[in-house]
Every structure is written in C-alpha cells, then in structure tokens.
Amino acid sequence: MPLLRVEGLGIDFGGLRAVDNVGFQVEPGEIVSVIGPNGAGKTTLFNMISGAYQPARGAVSLDGEIVTGMVPHLLARRGLSRTFQNLQIFQKMTVLENVMVGCHLQERASLLADLFSTPASRKRSAETRAAALKLLERVGLDCAADKEASSLSYGALKRLEIARALALEPRILLLDEPAAGCNAVETEEIDHLVADVAKSGVAILLVEHDMKLVMRISNHIVVLDRGEKIAEGRPGEVSRDPKVIEAYLGVQPKEAGGHALG
C-alpha cells in the first residue's frame, strides 16, 4: 500500500481551476518531486494535501486512511509534516526551543507533574532537549542552539524548519522549495539532508525550482502545468518529455530541448 495516495484532487478559486484532477502515489522512503512553471499549482496542491485548503474534488489518503481536508494539527499527529516556502518559524524562540516544540507530540506530560517540576518531569525535559540537540546537529545548527531564531540567516532558517518538521517523527515530509533563496553551498547541504532523511525511511514530497537538485535526488517526478498533471515518471524520462519542455519554454523542443531542464 502506498504511504500517500492522491486521487483526482482539485480546487477552484472563483472561476479559476487552480488545480484539477491531480493524482499520484508516494511510497515510504521515496523522494517524489512536484515541478512545473510558476503558477502551475504546486503550492496549492501542497496546501490541499497538508490541510491548509479544503479540496473541492478528489481524495488524499495516508497509509490507507482518508485524510482529505483534515486540519493540519491532526495530520501532524498522523505523521504528515511540512515546511513552507515563506518560512513559518517561531521567531522569538531560540533555535533549540523551535525544535523542542516539534518534539512535544512524543512527550508524555502531566500538567501537575510539570507545575511542581517533579524529577520525572525534569528528566523528560532533559530528554526532549537532547533529542532536539541531536536534530540540530543533523542539520548543522547545533552551534546556534541558544541563539534567537530571528537572528539566523535565511538558509539556516530553512534547515531549522526541516529540523522542527523532523522532530515530529513524520512518516512523510512535504518540503515547499527548501532550497529557494539559498546559495550553492546551502543548496548542497539541503540536498544531502533530504537524501539522508529519505534513507532513514521517511517519504519526501518536494516542490523545488532548482532542477539540478530535483534531477539528482528524486526517485520520481510529477509535472504540473496550469493545474493539471502533464507528465510523471523517473527524472530521465520526464526531462526528455516534449510536453514538459514545452510547458517550461513554450517553444518547439528542437530549438532548445537539450538545455530545457539543465
């Protein structure tokens, strides 16, 4: 059974069919990328899968359970976690606290024990702290643990958001342009991180404009254009697909095909 199954998903904004009849599957440990020109509906698709928008048509199921339009905090409890293109960070908390908030689903807390700071409660806090530090190490931010999040660079915040998403121990992680606005070195770091996460068995659904990154790490690519799926397949197949090249360049493939997906 696929971990994530999307069937016939669609939504309209006013008279505009923003996304229509999109379907695909993601297996555990697989990296699936969603690509397409600007305005193709990639982020809208993400927003429907992650419960930010209510889809008008179609269904999303997670490990066999129908979760169409379920609110984000319940999806998080079922193992679906995401990051945002325009960062959603607890800016006024420290870097470590940001990740610790993500760990809370794994905590077994009792209000009274915490109020009186019992040894059990303190032990649990120490464990959460250690787990959060380990995640920060994994994304290379352990040295910034006690800095306020708002003082971090953009690329570092991108990785912090991934660390926080991982703290939820997700089964599938949706990454919306994790490398956008990052320089070459930062992109490389995110590349390694994503591959590493997938290796640990977490499925990854990726929206990304950096085609080199997409072609290198994806197992499987879904191409959207004007809200519809126009192609799907392995990186090599997709990059040679004339429909894909046309969607990106809007010209005859013989003129520029070789460079289309660089």
């Binding site: 609110v71 984000p72 905090h73 319940l74 998080a76 409890r77 976690s81 995401r82 945002f84 325009n86 960062l87 959603q88 960070i89 607890f90 800016q91 006024k92 908390m93 908030v101 993500g102 809370h104 689903l105 905590e107 807390a109 209000l111 915490d114 109020l115 700071s117 409660s121 708002s150 926080r164 998403a165 703290a167 939820l168």
Partner: protein
C-alpha cells in the same frame, strides 16, 4: 511618612486588581492579537454572580468558585460564538465584536440581576490591620495575595507545562503551531477561559472593598487596558508592573493632590511613557520576516 505608606498600601491593593485585569488582556491578546474589551465584564460577573449565589444561600467560597467557573464559561462562549466565527476578519472587527459582547453582557447582567450596588462580607473581617502606623483592610491582603498567587501560578504554567508552552507557541506563530500538531483553536478557547477566570477572581476579591454593580466593568476594562499598554501589551510582567504603577499613581495623586485628579494624572503618566516608549515599558518591537 505614615501618610505615604498609607497611600502605597491602598495603591498596591487597587494596583493588584488592575494587574489581574491587565493580565487577562495580555493572555487573550497573545493568543489572538485581539484586545478584548469585554475583559471588565468578567470582573463584574465575578462579583455579581458571587453575591447572588451567596444570597441564595451558598457558602461564600462555593459562591466564589461558581462565579469564577461561570465567568470562564462565558469566556469560552465569547470565543466560540463570536470571535472564532469571525476568524479571518481584520483584528479591528474582532475588537469591535468584543465591545459589542461587553455591552451585551452588561445589559444581560442588568436584566438577570438588578441595578443596585452589592457587597458581600470580607473574607477575614473588616478590622483594619495596622502596619507601621498605616492601615490596610484584611481584604486588601487577600487581593494582593490573590494576585501574587495568580501571577506565580501562571508563570509556572507558561514556563513549565506543555499546555502553557503550546499557548505561547500559538501566540508566536499560529501556522507553525498547527504544523507541529498544536490544536490552536483549543488554545484560543483555553486562553479566553483563563482570562475570564482571572478577571472574575479579581471581581470576587475586590467586591468587599469597592462593591459591585452591573456597570462596573467599563471602568475596570479601561484601567486594565491602560495598565497593559503601560507595561507593554502582551507581556505578563508588563501587566504586573503596569497595574501596580497605575494603582500607586492613582493613590498618591488622590492623597497628595485631590482624588478628583487621580484618573487624569494616571493617564498623563501613561501618555508620557507611551510617547517615549510606544511599545510600553516591557514591550518589544515586533518585526515580520518575509
């Protein structure tokens, strides 16, 4: 010197109540960015419900507990029936909704209860205690101790418990809080319940000293709001300091100048502080990163 001590004692008593009301403003503001002008009505409900329950024959502590629970329920209803339904509306509209709720609650109280002034007995008698020549009512000590307990418990709640931290996380970034599995609607409701209960407690503690009536909420809302702005909206420590300062300024003005000017002087001080520090004494400039 005795005189000054006297003013300080009465200032602290009133200030503690302002601090509690300001804290109620702060909790809801943090959770929802809404300035809840119905906050004063919770103070009124605390006093009024306690009085009528006590008059109906309930022992005073039970009546007080009932009043606090009932006010919390009103707070939950305010969020569920009015604020949550207008989700997505601009903050200004939400604030106007709370003003409407405040008028509604005042009118409701006038109908359900009456338009008289009411008082129930002080918890530990009315014999003033003498401290260094100055006097304080035992009820004044109850007020100060009550406020101190609430602030201490809330400090522990927000710094130590997961639920408290989840409310802070919701305040900090609601989208991110949802992403990590926090039920932000529940946290909002909890904040309203908490604020209402704190306001009602202030009303219960203060009624034996100042009496209560259906229309007393407006004055408390205004003073609590001013105290919260003075300390920095959204900062609990600011609510405490702002409330106590406001109480002290009022008492000292009333003592040395005239009680006619106590509100005027208090508001002049607040204006002066806000001109110099628009974020309030403890507030921080907020910046959005895009």
């Amino acid at each position: 010197m005795t005189e000054l001590l006297q003013y300080v004692l009465s200032g602290l008593t009133v200030g503690a109540v302002y601090a509690l009301v300001a804290l109620g403003f702060t909790i809801i503001y943090n959770a929802s960015n809404v300035v809840n002008f119905a906050q004063g009505e919770f103070v009124m409900l605390g006093g009024m419900i306690t009085f009528f329950a006590w008059q109906a024959g309930l022992p005073l502590p039970l009546a007080a507990a009932l009043a606090i629970l009932a006010a919390a329920a009103v707070g939950v209803a305010l969020n569920k029936l009015a604020v949550e339904r207008a989700r997505g509306a601009p903050v200004v509209s939400l604030i106007i909704i709370t003003i409407g709720a405040s008028i509604f609650l005042r009118g409701g109280a006038q109908l359900v209860f009456d338009k008289q002034l009411h008082r129930f007995p002080a918890f530990s008698g009315d014999e003033p205690l003498v401290i260094g020549g100055a006097t304080i009512l035992p009820q004044g000590l109850w007020v100060v101790a009550g406020a101190a307990t609430v602030f201490a418990l809330l400090y522990l709640f927000f710094t130590r418990t997961l639920t408290g931290k989840a409310i802070l996380a919701t305040a900090n970034n609601r989208v991110a809080a949802r992403l990590v599995g926090i039920n932000t609607d529940y946290m909002m409701t909890l904040s309203f319940a908490l604020s209402a209960a704190i306001g009602a407690l202030a009303g219960v503690l203060m009624t034996p000293i100042t009496l209560t009536s259906y229309d007393l909420g407006v004055a408390y809302a205004l003073k609590g709001f001013a105290a919260a702005m003075l300390g920095g909206m959204g900062v609990p420590a600011g609510a405490l300091v702002g409330g106590l300062m406001l109480g002290l300024i009022e008492a000292i003005t009333a003592g040395y100048v005239s009680s006619v000017y106590k509100d005027a002087v208090a508001f002049i001080v607040i204006l002066a502080v806000l001109f110099a520090m628009p974020q309030g004494l403890f507030g921080r400039k907020s910046t959005d990163r895009v």
